[in-house]
Symmetry: C2
DNA sequence: TCTCCTTGCGATAATGATTTCCAATAGTAA
DNA sequence: TTACTATTGGAAATCATTATCGCAAGGAGA
């Protein structure tokens, strides 16, 4: 099957790259709709799937209900707020675990990442306000 | 609120511990149903939520659509088959990244895990058969 | 024991995210 | 132009999960 770079597809890719964040399909839909008011949410889903199959973007299978997509193709690590579900990149420098020393149970490794969970500064602030009220 | 250890709750906990795998709610439902044919899927969901709130089990927020649950409470690492969605534990020994040396962006850290993705031995075998046919 | 109150149950409806279906449209190649 | 195929928008369907509801069960206290 031959891929066509349609306007919709191009716009989706462009907006994802522009944001530099880990957007969900409907967040991206809201952004793209500003330029293409008639685009369908199904088109966004469809193209995110196609683009990640074609390795032009990356699908993050982390964190709860919604999938998130990333225009950064390199493996990198994430920190994830358990409260507001924000995901941010984590720079751990050269401290990564050397997998060659680990028993990987016969798997053919395709990727790796460190997922750290926690409460982000914003939610911490929110929580301390709440607790003060009580 | 006072927790009662009902038969259903006990059975769910027992089956999860017995399996030593990372089961989804409906997989667990199928197992428990063998002993309690009248149990409701809602009860399984409800109790998995309650048990993980009570820190008696752990909810894994990884891998695709379904949540998975684990009776192992300690933080540990996983390897995940991108093809059949199997999850297994990964023992990386003492080679873990020391987070105190990492900029965690002001997050209050609650957990961490290394996620390695790959193709499991079974799927590799399946794939080589397929390719041979072609 | 009887009564009140709370917790938990099973069945089912509702929800939210994602996927599929389908008829219409738009690129592409001869 | 014509024929073919990929892609679209919109709506319906699906899948996992959660909420609701009426009822049963398990104390606690009179």
């Amino acid at each position: 099957m031959q891929l066509r770079m349609t306007n919709q597809r191009e716009m989706i890719l462009r907006e994802l790259k522009k944001s530099k964040k880990h957007l969900s399909a409907d967040e991206l839909y809201e952004r793209v709709k500003k330029f293409m008011p008639r685009i369908s949410l199904a088109t966004v889903y469809r193209n995110l799937e196609i683009l990640s199959d074609a390795s032009m973007i990356r699908k993050l299978e982390i964190s709860g209900r919604q999938k998130r997509f990333d225009s950064e193709l390199e493996d990198h690590d994430h920190i994830y707020c358990v409260q507001c579900h924000r995901i941010e990149n984590l720079d751990i420098g050269d401290k990564e675990v050397n997998l060659t020393e680990v028993d990987t149970r016969g798997y053919a490794i395709t990727g790796r990442r460190l997922e750290v969970t926690g409460v982000c500064p914003k939610c911490q602030k929110k929580n301390s306000k709440k607790n003060a009220k009580k």
